[in-house]
Symmetry: C2
Subunit: 438 residues, 2 copies
Amino acid sequence: MKPVRVGICGLGTVGGGTFNVLTRNADEIARRAGRPIIIEQVALRSTNPECDLTGIKTTNDVFEVARNPDIDVLVEVLGGYDVPRELVLTAIANGKHVVTANKALIAVHGNEIFQAAHEQGVIVAFEAAVAGGIPVIKSLREGLGANRIEWVAGIINGTGNYILTHMRSEGRAFEDVLAEAQALGYAEADPTFDVEGIDAAHKLTILASIAYGVPLQFEKAYTEGISRVTAEDVEQADNLGYTIKHLGISKRTEAGLELRVHPTLIPKERLLANVHGVKNAIAIMGDAVGPTLYYGAGAGSEPTASAVVADLLDVARDIATDHHYRVPYLAFSGIGEDEGNLPILPMEDIVTAYYLRLLAVDRPGVLARVATILSEQGISIEALIQKEATEGELVPIILLTHSCREKHMNEAIRQIESMADIAGPVTRIRVESLDEQE
Amino acid sequence: MKPVRVGICGLGTVGGGTFNVLTRNADEIARRAGRPIIIEQVALRSTNPECDLTGIKTTNDVFEVARNPDIDVLVEVLGGYDVPRELVLTAIANGKHVVTANKALIAVHGNEIFQAAHEQGVIVAFEAAVAGGIPVIKSLREGLGANRIEWVAGIINGTGNYILTHMRSEGRAFEDVLAEAQALGYAEADPTFDVEGIDAAHKLTILASIAYGVPLQFEKAYTEGISRVTAEDVEQADNLGYTIKHLGISKRTEAGLELRVHPTLIPKERLLANVHGVKNAIAIMGDAVGPTLYYGAGAGSEPTASAVVADLLDVARDIATDHHYRVPYLAFSGIGEDEGNLPILPMEDIVTAYYLRLLAVDRPGVLARVATILSEQGISIEALIQKEATEGELVPIILLTHSCREKHMNEAIRQIESMADIAGPVTRIRVESLDEQE
Ligand SMILES: NC(=O)c1ccc[n+]([C@@H]2O[C@H](COP(=O)([O-])OP(=O)(O)OC[C@H]3O[C@@H](n4cnc5c(N)ncnc54)[C@H](OP(=O)(O)O)[C@@H]3O)[C@@H](O)[C@H]2O)c1
Ligand SMILES: NC(=O)c1ccc[n+]([C@@H]2O[C@H](COP(=O)([O-])OP(=O)(O)OC[C@H]3O[C@@H](n4cnc5c(N)ncnc54)[C@H](OP(=O)(O)O)[C@@H]3O)[C@@H](O)[C@H]2O)c1
């Protein structure tokens, strides 16, 4: 059968891995695709010592690939927003299928890109954009296609999970572990995207779009990083039976969809609490299947390449017929159709439980006042720890609340912070039970 | 678009669930399939109180469905071997696609069935046959299609895992928990298939076929149940840092493929060790992606239906083109092509570590003799626990060995059992590290 001819744009971590996996496992891949998948051209700016380009056509102009009539599928693994957007739209305009690992591109420009792909009858696949090598896009869209999805919650940023894992196992501070992660190459020199949750919000936006059939709405995602999580919070959470993880959470409620990334206390015995280091995992709840979970490497050269090549396999099988009937499916199943009108809820309206840590002057009545404020907002207390303190000194109070609406918690915190006997801001971390044993 | 017309054969646990999921989520499913999936006919012997059959064509002859010209896909959810085999072959001969949840059927008669399907150009899909609602067949074959699979290891029988979970958490005996599981409906009146590992071996046979592209060879699988695991072994394993799980394991080695189901000690901190109750999970190692894991409900009405309907979605999309190009892929990718010539290794030739428990007369020299026997077989000891005992009484000795070939362990056990100072048979449980954090 006619081979599928691939043009790889960008020969960095993921591009190099894709090149090597396609080359090394060419025989298996050809059998599984029903036809060879060959690398027709590679566009690169700097060489990759991991890749042997002997006999490969190269260029330093990625747009040459997008216009090359000998190419069926363009693999976009450059990173960034503007050049990839233009590149992908050019490839689509030239009738090429596209495989990308670029979550920022899909989360921010996806609606435009899928619309263009739909009009041209080409496929845009992006398994590698979420959770690296874990086939979670395929599992969610195809494997769980029978289900109404109720919620999705995942550890979808390896850098953040590496930092939280080591803060917990070694009782160290955020800055300290971050510096180490940077030295080891697990965190970028500018770690903002990872530790502030932007990367996770990109991925969550994509997952939610598929789960609920809504358009991509990255701008409405709530994003809170882990840079303010302290060693003390990690320890207090542990005492209460919880582990702090940086989660992307999206839930379907009657009023709308929750879409939020933030540090989260989860019970220690949950599988998600036991996902360590740079690994990723996503729990998905479907109405028929119940809770499921997908675990593996969320990043790295060959793990991510594994997902890029899986997309190439799908494209190879789909174009076998020249019908492209799967286009809307490989883009999104029923954008604006499933729950297209369900709004993304503002953070004020989400419902969750909370961990609170406050510093109080050790005086009688302080605790009673805090409890009253919470109760006036309809918030009930599940657990409370007050450390003994020397007379007159500041004493930490740790609270776990039952679920309430975030706006009521905001108001309670505002009032607590205005108390004369409370020092500094109240630390607030959300708590989710996410029972995958259900 | 033309609907896909489904005939459900058997309206028991899985058939009833399939009926209800297809009915309840009809809108979502139609959007995802690109066309409605409608229930054209149901063949049943006894009614199912969970299902409202108003307006549905029914029959009590399953073969009527297989010959009904108005049916595109036959769903076989009867159970058993002979009737389903004949039914599925009849459906195929009549040009119908087949979706089945029947692992026994696929593991034992799969080669014949896929051959027939291939000749007729129809699809036989069986996601529900392995690990219920977990989309592991799709993940392995499509999601990890870029990889050479190195090993697969899974908790793929919920009944067995329920029993081991409760033996461990409550320190109870096998028979005791089994009786409870039977009372609760988690175990059949005749639990042999589940507790002796036959069901798990069916599923493992199917997974290995897909992983390595070899024909189904259920008859070569090694199968050992959990009925001889004692509360003491569970406790001793725990003391050593391990949990006993009933695993299906298949590994690729240079000499051939391992295919075995048996109780297995795995380190407590592994995700697989933390899969509790009736839940299932499968870890899969690929050369590019590294270790991945898939978790969820391995059985139950709607979880299993979730997988049946996922297969119907695949069939619906594939037949949209009337090309059926995906047939060999939905059967097996490259049977006899990937590693078709790689033999299934006899159990004697597998390599693993071991946990041994012996009862010895407390006399000097016994331990030295045991150590010598092991060492003469090239087996080294990793850990040893000898309980203190009253003079002359039998004392348990617990050993963990490093990896060795099973035939050497067999010989060592034979010699140890023949020692005058050793009472009764040696208990031997295999140990696997299965590092998913790698
Ligand atoms: N790394 C991962 O584990 C991972 C996982 C999942 C998804 N992703 C996504 O995959 C994409 C690529 O990531 P990466 O880690 O592979 O990045 P990377 O290692 O920085 O590789 C990007 C490569 O593209 C090249 N490039 C950039 N612009 C180019 C241009 N205009 N023309 C030619 N070459 C150009 C870069 O060349 P220079 O070196 O000369 O700049 C570099 O070699 C990103 O969207 C990322 O978010 C990465
Ligand atoms: N249950 C699970 O969780 C699960 C999970 C994965 C896979 N599976 C597989 O799915 C299949 C079905 O399992 P199940 O649990 O649904 O079994 P089940 O509850 O016993 O249902 C089987 C149904 O088929 C009917 N049936 C059997 N032979 C028939 C015939 N010749 N004509 C008409 N109806 C007939 C039975 O009727 P009667 O009641 O009159 O006998 C029964 O209603 C099995 O292959 C099983 O291994 C089950």
